[in-house]
């Protein structure tokens, strides 16, 4: 029986158990005996008894047999290779065949000959036996759960408490997934990064000024993996974007929070937030097709001799478009913070004779300053981690330049470049992407933590 059929069967059995136990409990109740819980809980408990143990067993059995068989294949094939029965290229074929046998339970490769075939058949038989044992045990488990649950439907049993225990346990597991994901991110980045630094020394990565990874095939001469030009490009583009987004965002927030009438505000705020809802790929394409060529033509019109000094893909293009994308982040975060400043502070300032703009500049903004700083930091971390705009608008050449009209590249662009196409997980050309990802993760994490720290500390002041 296939895995999905098995799962369906177990669930069907569980449903049956739910129905039967509930019916039994109802029957008890109608006979006049006082049950501890409502009938539905007895049903649910039987359902849990049927489904959870058997599915857990099925899953573990599945994973266990897969690991066991893979190990067996490895051992036997390498033994055959050692003893010279198998040629080296045949070994690869055999491994492929056995793998596909394991994963899809069918043989796809055509170029296997007779003696290999018998070997494969041998294995197929083994796999089948193991699968049958697993399925039978699962069915037995489920049936046992059903019978036990039915038998155990008695008036003294605390079914509700047990069911609630299971529910709370599953809630805890669900909330622990967040921690698991973080651990997953850290470990997946960490191990690949460590194996990258086995072939490239730390100092070459962190202080190297040349980015030239070469191609994975020529592994004899390892390329140069200098982080500096990428980091410079990332920070430069993020800076341009922030230079654009911070003033616009904060001024919009101030206007919306302090000056705009409620009608205007309820119209403008969603309009600006549309900007945040547009996917970044759209911004990227907009930069590539509209903004880049526009800036190039503009510069060629200004330069006099018709030569464009702004490249179509440049720091400026990517920075401006990213800035547009970031405006709503800054404006809506700052708007909330400015509105959270107590009105009494403003009234005090007005009472001393300050104009509205003086109040805003001297009182409101300085009271909101930590919060706005946190908003700016959060936005900056978004600017650093932004991918699609820079992939399409910033260029791929890893140059170290201070000319904003030139193309530069970023960490995220290089992660995408190194990981699209065919992959080999052991070449430094692929693994460097994880080192870059680790760098990106650490930098953004620090910024986020710092921003959250500021927000928490600031929130305590007025509550």
């Amino acid at each position: 029986m296939s895995a999905s059929g098995m799962i369906l069967f177990v669930f069907a059995l569980g449903g049956l158990g739910l129905f039967l136990s509930r019916a039994r409990a109802l029957a008890f109740e109608s006979c006049g005996s006082r049950m501890h819980s409502r009938p539905f809980y007895y049903g649910l408990w039987t359902f849990f008894l049927v489904v959870f143990p058997s599915l857990l067993f099925f899953l573990l059995w599945h994973i266990g047999t897969n690991l066991y068989i893979e190990h067996q294949i490895f051992v036997r094939v390498s033994r055959m290779e050692m003893s010279g029965i198998l040629h080296e290229d045949r070994v690869l074929v055999l491994r492929d065949v056995l793998k596909s046998l394991l994963q899809k339970s069918m043989v796809l490769s055509r170029n296997i000959d007779h003696d290999l075939l018998s070997f494969v058949f041998d294995f197929a038989k083994k796999v089948k036996i193991l699968n049958v044992i697993g399925s039978l045990t699962t069915v037995f488990c489920a049936c046992f759960g059903l019978v036990y649950g039915l038998w155990d439907t008695r008036s003294q049993k605390r079914a509700r408490n047990k069911v609630e225990c299971v529910i709370i346990l599953s809630l805890i597991i669900a909330s622990a997934i967040a921690v698991l994901v973080t651990i997953g991110i850290l470990s997946s980045l960490f191990f690949q990064t460590v194996s990258f630094f086995r072939s490239v020394p730390l100092s070459h990565f962190f202080f190297g000024t040349v980015w030239d990874p070469r191609f994975p095939t020529t592994d004899s001469n390892v390329g140069q993996f200098g982080l500096v030009p990428l980091l410079a490009g990332t920070l430069y583009i993020a800076c341009v974007a922030m230079l654009f987004a911070v003033p616009v965002g904060i001024f919009s927030a101030v206007y919306m929070a302090e000056y705009a009438s409620p009608q205007l505000r309820s119209f403008i705020k969603p309009l600006l937030e549309i900007l945040a809802g547009i996917p970044t790929i759209v911004y990227g394409f907009f930069a590539l097709v509209s903004v880049g060529p526009f800036l190039r033509d503009l510069s060629s019109a200004f330069s006099g001799n018709g030569e464009a000094f702004i490249m179509a893909q440049s720091v400026l293009t990517a920075g401006i478009v990213m800035g547009i994308m970031l405006i709503p982040f800054i404006s809506s975060l700052s708007d909330d913070i400015i509105r959270a400043v107590p009105y009494s502070l403003r009234e005090g300032s007005f009472g001393l004779g300050a104009t509205q703009s003086e109040t805003i500049k001297r009182v409101v903004l300085s009271a909101a300053f930590p919060g706005i700083m946190a908003a700016v930091l959060l936005t900056a971390s978004r600017a650093i981690g932004e991918t699609m705009i820079v992939v399409m608008a910033a260029g791929v050449a890893a140059k170290l330049t201070i000319n904003p009209f030139d193309a530069m590249t970023t960490i995220t662009v290089k992660i995408v470049n190194q990981l699209t196409g065919d992959l080999e997980f052991n070449s430094p050309q692929t693994l460097v992407a994880f080192a870059l990802g680790m760098t990106l993760f650490v930098v953004t994490l620090l910024m986020n933590i710092f921003a959250l720290y500021i927000v928490r500390k600031y929130r305590e002041q007025y509550e």
């Binding site: 809630l171 997946s188 992660i415």
Partner: protein, 428 residues
């Protein structure tokens, strides 16, 4: 007294000027934001809408048995019908319409460049389905070539010299003639939503991408909604404040702010390399997007749960409900509108996400529809990325059109979220 007044010069004029300046700065900033929004939307819509219509040719094609089956063996060998030279039938029909002689091979070649490569397969499918049509004349509508399409829509500068153009002057003359006779006309571009990836612009569409995106959204919904709601319920209703819950909370807040590309790296290592799931499948894409989405759902659900008045909980507990009964039968049902709003917004965000999908190999040329989530597929934003890298002019229009489709979906989801919130949200 007058001396005192002099001292009280508080530079009112200057200060009012500064006030006006400050205010206009704010107004300017807002209008700048709105201006950019309008420019963005205008440039997308103005360049993309035209791709909803595609130039087609409608003319009667004679299904000549001599060309389809020159040796008359189709009764014995059904393969003949499948491999017959259908483009030639179309070419001949068009040549006849244009008055080009069937001996003028140079002109004939130009005639056959007028219609799409896909027209032949369209005709083939028709004949294979209805073999009795052979020998008759059928009125057919088929796609024109992409160059013809671009010229017909006025997107090509025709003043450049003939050698630099993809269409010759002769072909332009023919186009005028065909357009005048109503043979060359625009039809609604259904193919854009059906076709899969193709190197020919007029034959490529969003079909696979739409299915892939649908699968992924389904997986995201299926996985992240239960996990997100369960986690939020635990944190909001059950957990006390201790180290464990603090750790979870910090993690959730951080996960919501981790750059999306990092999730792509995670997916590559864990799902593809470690668990051995198929590369570029929508299953892996959906799982990666799930990891990205569920922190958002947790945060939304928590605020929805917090908005439910404590009096509801107290009333339920007072009537003898257990804690779990209170939460599951009273608090969560009241929080559902808020939860759904957050979920829809999270899904909308996941729908537009591109970067992590690039890393798990969804940048693939997929010509067949994915039958299950395990098959290779693309997603709408990834398709946009792939078309953006194509060189041909006709792909720009299609890219913008795909962006319009994507934005439409996002707008629909957001409107649904807003309506849901306004319609069902209760204030306590």
């Amino acid at each position: 007294m007058s001396k005192l007044l002099k001292h009280r010069d508080i530079r009112l004029k200057q200060r009012y000027r500064a006030e006006a300046f400050f205010r206009s700065c704010g107004l300017f900033a807002i209008s700048l934001g709105v201006f950019f929004l309008l420019v963005l939307l205008y440039s997308v819509f103005s360049q993309g809408v035209s791709a909803f219509w595609q130039t087609s040719l409608t003319l009667s094609v004679k299904l000549d048995a001599k060309i389809i089956d020159p040796e008359g063996r189709r009764a014995n060998d059904p393969q003949i019908i499948c491999i017959a030279d259908y483009p030639r039938l179309l070419r001949n029909a068009l040549a006849e319409e244009l008055g080009v002689s069937l001996d003028d091979l140079v002109s004939l070649r130009e005639v056959s460049r007028m219609f799409s490569f896909g027209a032949g397969s369209q005709l083939r499918d028709l004949v294979v389905k209805n073999p009795q049509l052979i020998g008759t004349s059928q009125k057919l509508t088929f796609l024109a070539a992409s160059h013809v399409d671009s010229v017909f829509k006025g997107q090509v500068n025709l003043s450049v010299s003939e050698t630099k153009r993809k269409l010759s002057n002769k072909q332009l003359e023919w186009m005028k003639k065909l357009a005048y006779e109503g043979i060359l006309h625009k039809t609604f571009n259904f193919g854009f939503f059906i076709f899969s990836a193709s190197s020919r612009p007029e034959m490529s569409g969003l079909g696979v991408a739409l299915i892939g995106s649908f699968y992924m959204m389904f997986i995201v919904l299926l996985c992240s909604l239960p996990i997100g709601v369960a986690a939020a319920v635990y944190l909001e209703e059950y957990a006390g404040r201790n180290r464990f819950t603090d750790l979870i909370e910090v993690n959730i807040n951080n996960l919501a702010a981790v750059p999306s590309i990092i999730f792509g790296l995670l997916g590559l290592v864990v799902f593809i390399h470690f668990l051995g799931l198929p590369r570029s499948s929508s299953l892996v894409g959906g799982l990666v997007l799930t990891l990205m989405t569920f922190p958002t759902i947790i945060i939304a659900t928590r605020s929805a749960l917090r908005a439910v008045s404590p009096s509801i909980r107290l009333a339920a507990l007072g009537l003898g409900a257990s804690k779990t009964q209170t939460v599951f039968q009273h608090v969560i049902p009241l929080a559902i509108p808020g939860i759904l709003t957050g979920t829809i917004l999270g899904l909308a965000h996941a729908l537009g996400e591109t970067a992590p999908l690039l890393l798990i190999g969804m940048v693939a040329f997929v010509a067949n529809y994915p039958v299950s989530p395990m098959d290779p597929a693309t997603a709408v934003p990834v398709q946009i990325y792939m078309w953006a890298n194509e060189a041909e002019r006709a792909f720009v229009e299609r890219t913008f059109c795909a962006i319009i489709v994507l934005l439409m979906f996002l707008a629909l989801m957001n409107i649904a979220a807003v309506l849901l919130r306004n319609r069902f949200e209760r204030r306590f």
